[in-house]
Symmetry: C2
Subunit: 218 residues, 2 copies
């Protein structure tokens, strides 16, 4: 039986994005060309332009690759869910080249003309949402402003991953993210709540394995 | 009276570094060429190679530009000195293109072959030194490990500046750094010490103006 057209389109789109991620990572946004991406993806020009009208759209696709998997299993304790979001993202940065390429593009300070604020804003929204619910549930210290804490959370995560990449290609990333959380959360979360939150370095891998066992959404 | 030779050499070296910073910032490390830097610096090829043997040495010069000015006025309270280091660096990032270029190169994740760990390590050393003295003076909470806190401090600063650059070209940088410090320091410093530390956004500018009034070192 021939493959359904829709499945093939999804696979082609993904192959193009993986190729684009590779080329952006190698040459940077500015120097990357569509013909290189074409050659690497091994698809026709028509197929590429059917999915992406421009280099900017390709980059936007790679950028959003990092946060399409933002969702972590819901947890009664929203502080734990926030921690899980960070630890799972750290684990994926270590293990998924597409997530890595998206983060690198986000921090490409020379990618003029490319809107790199998206991932920062989307991560910020996720963090604000979790912190607002955590506050409503009485998990946070009284002075906390969720919008401000969310910005600190997202910004500091971005730097800790960049430092880990620069000094050892992400080998110590999980330890660094765990240390960051241990430094920030005591200023944000009630100590009675924090005492039962799992901040261990293994958290990301555990969550990732659990996600794989979930039945796929239709 | 003709200018002493040494002064001229210092000025030429500085002109080359400023030109290199500009070219690296525009094209990135990989795409930048020495001939572009030559054209922009308006010096002879001989003068450039007298000071810098390669593109890598030029980049190393730009990278170290950001931390040659790491030194802030000594303060009895080492926590204040650590805060001052961050706030002054944030202020210089806003106001000094050379500092900005160094930081961008440090975060250029495609600059393969260029050792970008230097600034992270040097900033880390400064932070470890200040935290170790702060600990000896009894400013810190008992569980603090200076080396770990220093890494969190440097990494999170790097990300907060990158986020500020991406979303608004550094306009809100001082507020973001102040918020970061307010989130991290309560996990590190005794509250009785922190109560008298100046974390205000104006701190960097105040210190910068004070530094200008200092007599220059011979």
């Amino acid at each position: 039986m021939p493959e359904p057209k829709q499945d093939r389109a999804v696979r082609t789109r993904q192959a193009i994005l993986v190729a684009a991620a590779k080329v952006f990572e190698e040459h940077g946004y500015k120097a990357a060309t569509i013909s290189e991406i074409l050659a690497s993806a091994k698809v026709t020009k028509g197929a590429l332009y059917f999915h992406f009208a421009s280099k900017e759209e390709l980059a936007a696709g790679v950028l959003s690759g990092q946060d399409q998997q933002l969702i972590v299993p819901s947890h009664a304790c929203k502080t734990q869910e926030l921690v899980d979001t960070a630890m799972l993202h750290a684990y994926r940065l270590q293990s998924d080249p597409m997530v890595r390429a998206g983060v690198r593009l986000t921090l490409d300070q020379r990618a003029a003309g490319l809107d790199r604020t998206g991932p920062f804003l989307r991560w910020g929204e996720v963090a604000v949402g979790l912190l607002t619910t955590a506050q409503a549930q009485g998990e946070l210290l009284p002075h906390v402003v969720p919008a401000e804490t969310a910005e600190v959370f997202v910004g500091s995560f971005a730097g800790v991953q960049a430092m880990s990449q620069a000094v050892c290609e992400y080998q110590d990333l999980l330890g660094r993210v765990s240390a960051l959380l241990r430094h920030i959360l005591p200023s944000v979360v009630l100590s009675s709540v924090l005492a039962s939150v799992d901040l261990s370095e293994q958290r990301g891998e555990t969550l990732s394995l659990e996600a794989c066992r979930e039945p796929a959404l239709a």
